[in-house]
């Protein structure tokens, strides 16, 4: 596979650069907040802070680069966000010293934190405010590992861009903002002043990003003056021309389109550390007009387009995810920030969305083999098999990308959640698997919900056996339960109780962000923030969704199936006796545990006994959350995905009735319990399709194949048909790990030889060697399908 010298150099540089924590943003922001004396509204203050950052941050253009701009002072320098969550010195030491996914913190940075940043922000960050506002019940449940909360250290911002930036420059946005300002009705609209401030803030933010690009244009010209190489001189001049034009004006060509997006990406991720996944979305469709026009005019070739895209890809890979604080810093092990580029699907008019740029992008994905950006194919029944098959050729090379989504079902999901049909068609998946209307929706993942933990508490009448604390409701002595219905009823009450606690917390947190941390730059990019004159955090978006992600569905299904089978149908043991066994963690009960593992109906085998229980759990979770109002005029909905939290959730959850040993990982996504499925992939797909994916905002299914399965062309055809069938059954998403267990074990023993081994974790790919031992073991354990 041919890669140009330029790309080889930039790619290598990106792979080899060490991740470092940069205090630059924190220092600048502290300086800004210290010097600021004038009294201004929160949105304007945030816009001025944004402007200040973009005016003062270091900028650099790497040798040979065509697309320019870094979030930090240089590549892989990750900025921090003390106004949101301020790293303590301990946090910095953990990040610096930990074995996996570390961030180097040099002594100067540490010193800056100690002397300037921490003294200023201590007790004043959003995180401090959030923990101050949460109830005792919330804190107890949070500490017990019943749920997590994303917003305690990352701003809401989970959204993806649509096509508007390819049609409008920032000056056009400013004109729209001015028009809205001129229309404000100060006589009858009590919100007029608030709108005015928000719109002014957006105006400032738009100007700030134009100025930021001009700094790059100037730098490029300066560099060209000192450059000896004629070719590079021309490139630098071209960079200057591009940066002088975008983002001020709408892009005129392929290069400008990519550079414009990149400035926007930097703006959004410098303004706040938005959780997460900001991405250009349907890139093949956005770029198509520029590609065709360039080719037709003879200004662009396939090769040039490909090289520009490769430069663009490397830019994503240069940005490690924001370094976390607190427990999350110790547990969260990934540099990935989940930007997911969508390919295929349908166009706004509902016709097949696959085009020549789709295939070009697939070539880029295959050649780049980078962790970031993450990529997905959106498979519609209208797309040709050739498209899916081309993607399977990349999947079989085993780096977990692209992941595969059901575009037609995503359309249904979005429409069910209230989107117009056109907005739904322009939407897609982002982050791990969650869906949204691109460019028009604020959809936030707010945290994971540990279903098996809640069940454990149910089996102990509201008490967490790990700590002996009473956390839940008293739903009765479980030893007295006479039927499955009583068990399920008690579980449902506990789920509702903890979901209430979580939702109350979310509703407060949403308001805190709306009041104290508006994001005017992101707001101007998302419809209808400008026309409403409202901030993205305050309900400005056309659609506003709050997601809570359920974890451990497979474990729950098998646990309940086990109780149903052994207690209520076969009377193998009494309910009380079963709970006693769980409390001993099966010590000395290995034979019995084997019976639970091997002689009990399990989810994932197309066995209705277990699968019916799974759908009951699904309905309980769905009913507890779906349709509740949030504070932004939208609703709560569910997804079922774990990222890596099933490991953490497992570590706080005792033995479960399915035979799972205490403190070991839970099942992930909607996948069956690791190793519980033994009837092959078609049975897994049938089981998983029994839940109503259309009523979720995303589910995640992992399947693992050894490379041999996909070696032949026929094997790939079968994979295409397997995907198509799962989607006929209305499955939402499927992803494939193509690697054998032997390779994984070798990689565990000799990580140095397998640094580049990328595996699918859960909704994203990661370097196998960067994962914790537990997670590595778990990936090895996930059922290997030898053939189908």
């Amino acid at each position: 596979m041919i890669i140009t010298e330029r790309i080889e150099k930039l790619r290598q540089q990106s792979l080899e650069a060490e991740e470092t924590l940069s205090s630059e943003r924190a220092e600048l922001l502290t300086k800004f907040y210290k010097q600021e004396v004038e009294l201004v509204s929160p949105p304007v203050r945030r816009a001025l802070a944004f402007k200040y950052l973009l005016e003062h941050k270091k900028i650099s253009i790497q040798d040979a680069e065509l697309i320019v701009g870094e979030k930090g002072p240089s590549l892989k320098n990750a900025p921090t966000f003390p106004e949101l969550c301020c790293h303590s010195l301990d946090d910095l030491d953990v990040l610096n010293q930990r074995e996996k996914t570390s961030f180097k913190v040099d002594s100067k940075t540490r010193n800056n934190y100690e002397k300037i940043i921490i003294p200023f922000w201590k007790g004043k960050s959003m995180r401090d405010l959030i923990f101050k506002e949460m109830t005792e019940e919330w804190k107890a449940a949070y500490q017990a590992g019943i749920f997590t909360e994303f917003m305690e250290q990352r701003a809401p911002g989970h959204t993806v861009l649509d096509d508007k930036i390819y049609r409008k420059g920032m000056l056009d946005f400013q004109t729209e903002i001015d028009q809205q300002l001129s229309r404000l009705d100060y006589f009858t609209d009590p919100q007029a002043y608030d709108k005015q401030e928000e719109l002014r803030a957006m105006h400032i933010a738009a100007g700030a990003i134009i100025h930021f690009a001009h700094r790059y244009a100037e730098r490029a010209l300066e560099m060209s003056a000192n450059e000896k190489d004629d070719i590079r001189i021309n490139e630098l001049r071209k960079i200057a021309e591009v940066c002088n034009h975008v983002p001020a004006y709408a892009p005129r060509n392929f290069w400008e389109a990519l550079q414009y997006y990149w400035f926007v990406h930097l703006g959004v991720t410098i303004e706040l550390n938005t959780w997460d996944a900001f991405s250009p979305g349907r890139l093949d469709q956005h770029l198509l007009p520029f590609y065709r026009q360039g080719i037709n005019k003879g200004e662009l070739t396939h090769q040039i387009a490909e090289e520009l895209l490769q430069c663009f890809w490397i830019k994503f890979n240069n940005q490690p995810a924001p370094p976390k604080v607190g427990v999350t810093a110790e547990e969260s092990g990934t540099y990935t920030d989940f930007a997911q580029i969508n390919l295929g699907g349908v166009r706004p008019d509902g016709t097949d969305g696959v085009n020549e740029v789709t295939y070009l992008l697939l070539d880029v994905i295959e050649k780049m083999r980078l962790l970031q950006p993450s990529t997905s194919i959106q498979v519609s029944k209208k797309n040709p098999d050739r498209f899916v098959k081309r993607a399977t050729k990349i999947i079989k090379t085993g780096f977990g990308q692209p992941s595969v989504f059901n575009a037609d079902l995503i359309g249904q999901e979005l429409i069910r959640m209230g989107k117009s049909i056109v907005d739904a068609r322009c939407g897609g998946s982002s982050g791990c698997v969650e869906v949204g209307a691109f460019g028009k929706e604020n959809y936030n993942l707010t945290g994971y919900f540990n279903m098996p933990k809640v069940f454990e508490i149910t089996l102990h009448d509201g008490v967490d056996p790990r700590t002996g604390k009473k956390l839940g409701l008293a739903t009765g002595n479980p030893a007295e339960f006479k039927s499955m219905e009583e068990v399920l009823e008690a579980f449902e009450k506990q789920v509702n109780y903890f979901v209430d606690i979580k939702v109350r917390g979310n509703n407060v947190i949403e308001r805190l962000y709306a009041k104290y941390l508006p994001c005017p730059f992101l707001s101007l990019l998302i419809d209808d923030c400008i026309s409403k004159g409202m901030d993205y955090h305050n309900g400005g978006a056309r659609y506003n969704t709050t997601y809570i992600q359920g974890v451990g569905l497979g474990t729950m299904a098998d646990a309940l199936s086990s109780i149903k089978y052994h207690v209520f149908e076969n009377a193998t043991f009494s309910m009380g006796g079963f709970i006693d066994i769980l409390d001993t963690n099966f010590v000395g009960q290995d034979q019995l545990r084997q019976q639970l593992l091997n002689r009990t109906p399990k989810y994932g085998n197309d066995d209705d006994f277990a699968d019916e229980v799974m759908t009951r759990v699904f309905e309980i979770y769905y009913n507890s959350i779906d349709g509740r109002p949030n504070t932004k005029g939208g609703e709560y909905h569910i997804n079922l995905l774990p990222t890596t939290v099933h490991v953490y959730f497992g570590s706080v959850t005792g033995a479960t009735p399915d035979g799972r040993i205490a403190w070991t990982p839970l099942s992930e996504g909607v996948s069956p319990v690791q190793g519980a499925d033994h009837k092959g992939p078609t049975a897994v797909l049938r089981s998983v399709a029994k839940m109503d994916h259309a009523r979720t905002g995303g589910t995640l299914l992992n399947q693992k194949f050894t490379p041999q399965v996909l070696e032949s062309d026929e094997g790939l055809d079968k994979l295409v048909q397997l995907i198509r069938t799962y989607f006929r059954l209305d499955g939402h998403h499927i992803q494939f790990n193509v690697v054998d267990a032997i390779t994984l074990r070798l990689a565990q023993q000799h990580p140095e030889q397998y640094r580049s081994l990328i595996v699918r974790v859960a909704g994203y790919s990661d370097y196998f060697c960067d994962l914790s031992k537990t997670l590595q073991d778990e990936i090895i354990a996930r059922t290997e399908h030898e053939g189908y």
Binding site: D606, T682, A683, R686, E714, K718, Q721, L722, R724, T725, R728, L729
Partner: protein, 206 residues
């Protein structure tokens, strides 16, 4: 499912689960063996049940059974995979211990009845890969009133390890796989007889 005794209803319960996959990939059920024709009643009932569900059916057979068996089932079979091993009767007896008379006769009758047939010739060096047998086979097939395809199944050694693992004596262990060149020669002969040769399709392992 290996080695278990099931009723037609139980079998159909397993099969019907895969209907969405069949519909999508235009797949279906292949009855193979052993020799499915030796379980005639079960086969017939299963085929009828499949047809009731609109499931595509294939029967993989050696052809060594009385004609009335084929007569009963052929309307419910979408494709027969039909083995043709050796044309010479005495050589056929030598290697399979039975005459090929009934096998060839059934094939002619099935063809006359317009059943869809793919004939499969296992190509075993030193056993049936000589030009004489190939020409005889090709000539016989060319005379059939109707034939959908011919496939060569060259001998391979994938099964050796299995014989070993099961502690069984493999009578073919001295035989080496057919060379690519010889396969092509045989194919050329089949082409000369204008036979519809299938390559890399159903059942082809190498």
């Amino acid at each position: 499912m290996v080695g278990s005794i099931v009723t037609v209803a139980q079998l159909m319960d397993e099969i019907e689960r895969d209907i969405p996959f069949f519909d999508q990939s235009r797949g279906g059920v292949t009855f193979t063996g052993g020799e499915p024709m030796f379980q005639r009643e079960f086969l017939l009932e299963s085929l009828l049940a499949c047809k009731e569900q609109g499931i595509h059916t294939i029967v993989d057979t050696s052809g060594y059974t009385s004609w009335d068996g084929f007569e009963q089932i052929h309307s419910y079979v979408d494709i027969f995979l039909y083995d043709l091993k050796l044309m010479d009767e005495s050589r056929h007896k030598q290697y399979t211990s039975v005459s090929n008379h009934m096998i060839l006769d059934n094939l002619k009758k099935l063809s006359s009845a317009k059943a869809s047939i793919i004939v499969r010739i296992p190509l075993i060096p030193g056993v049936n890969d000589d030009y004489e047998n190939i020409h005889q086979s090709a000539s016989f097939l060319a005379d059939l009133p109707h034939l959908d395809g011919v496939e060569l199944i060259p001998y391979h050694e994938i099964g050796l390890a299995k014989y070993q693992a099961l502690g069984m004596n493999n009578k073919l262990k001295e035989i080496k796989p057919v060379s690519r060149q010889h396969i092509e020669e045989v194919e050329q002969i089949l082409y000369k007889y204008h036979l519809p040769l299938y390559k890399d399709s159903i059942g082809r392992i190498l």
